[in-house]
């Protein structure tokens, strides 16, 4: 009984502590590929790489500094995404700004 309880406590502690981690700020600039559920895929302007990020309850979508609905995030529009995460593969969105298309060189 005691051994099983201790094992349960240890497992709970390991799972709890493992989820604590530092985050870094990332800026992703590009065009929306798709928004599927809470996952937003953006193709970066600089290298064509597609980055997948998660919308959270606190994520904001704005245009001209005004909040807009997430349904505005249609494929092909230009966005600037500020996100936080441990790596570029694990990003939670802080804000998505819908912006004019960059000038072509």
């Amino acid at each position: 009984m005691i051994r099983i309880t201790v094992a349960g406590i240890v497992a709970a502690l390991v799972l709890g502590v493992a989820s604590l981690s530092a985050h870094d700020n990332y800026r992703i600039i590009g065009t929306v590929v798709k928004l599927a559920g809470t996952t937003l895929d953006v193709k970066q302007s600089k290298d064509g790489q597609t980055v997948s990020m998660e919308m959270t309850k606190t994520s904001r979508v704005t245009r001209d500094k005004k909040k807009v609905a997430t349904t505005e995030l249609k494929a092909g529009i230009h966005v600037v995404v500020d996100a936080r995460g441990d790596t570029i593969l694990d990003l939670d969105i802080v804000e998505v700004r819908i912006v004019p298309a960059p000038a072509k060189k």
Partner: protein, 220 residues
């Protein structure tokens, strides 16, 4: 003659015991989730335990100063002598140019000791979001980890900076528009290293020039 006695095999736990211990483990996991994980990871602190334990600060971490690589030469802290600040080595200088793509930002910072001085001029081909600031080095006294000295939209600036604390000091420049913008910075000072941080979080250490390079080839 006695036969060896065998210890009886332990009885397997009963179903009710398994249910009880599983429930206990789940309750403990739930308590840890509510009191530790949610406050630390998401800033959600329904019980107030996260604030008491200082865990909510993890969800919104303080700015951690980015340390430039250590200087190859000695730290350049001035020794005051009346109106003079005397340094143990000569100043360095630097010329930096970068084109910021639409909506990108860059940080460019020099490592300065407390009271060390630099002078600078920069200009850009378009208006930028701009923040001249310092990030305190670890162990460089009490005070905020980061301090802004000039935060405004600008296209150019010239001035001098005397570091209020040891750390990295320099600029955050953000291109707010859809056109590329080129920035050119020239500086000289008693700094020991420079670091460039791009919006994709890559960091590049810059090589600074010594005043000896000014005199090469002058024939004297």
């Amino acid at each position: 003659m006695t036969s060896p006695t065998q210890a009886p095999a332990p009885a397997p736990p009963s179903l009710s015991m398994l249910v009880r211990t599983t429930a206990i483990a789940l309750i403990i996991a739930g308590v840890i989730l509510v009191t530790i994980v949610l406050p630390a990871e998401y800033g959600v602190d329904p019980t107030g335990a996260g604030r008491v334990l200082g865990l909510t600060a993890i969800a919104s971490p303080a700015v951690v100063p980015v340390e430039a690589p250590g200087p190859a030469d000695a730290a350049l802290a001035p020794t005051p002598n009346g109106p003079l600040g005397i340094y143990a080595a000569a100043f360095k200088f630097d010329a930096f140019e970068i084109e910021l793509a639409p909506y990108e930002y860059v940080e460019y910072k020099y490592r300065l000791e407390k009271d060390a001085t630099m002078l600078y001029s920069w200009h850009a081909t378009g208006a930028l979001k701009h923040d001249l600031h310092g990030e305190r080095a670890a162990g460089a006294g009490d005070g905020p980890a980061e301090q802004s000295f000039d935060k405004a939209d600008r296209r150019q600036a010239s001035g001098t900076l005397t570091a209020p604390f040891a750390g990295i000091h320099g600029w955050y420049w953000e291109n707010p528009g859809a056109q590329p913008i080129t920035i050119r910075l020239t500086s000289a000072g008693y700094y020991t290293s420079a670091v460039e941080i791009r919006s994709d979080r890559t960091r590049h250490t810059r090589t600074l020039r010594t005043i000896e390079t000014l005199h090469k080839g002058d024939g004297k």
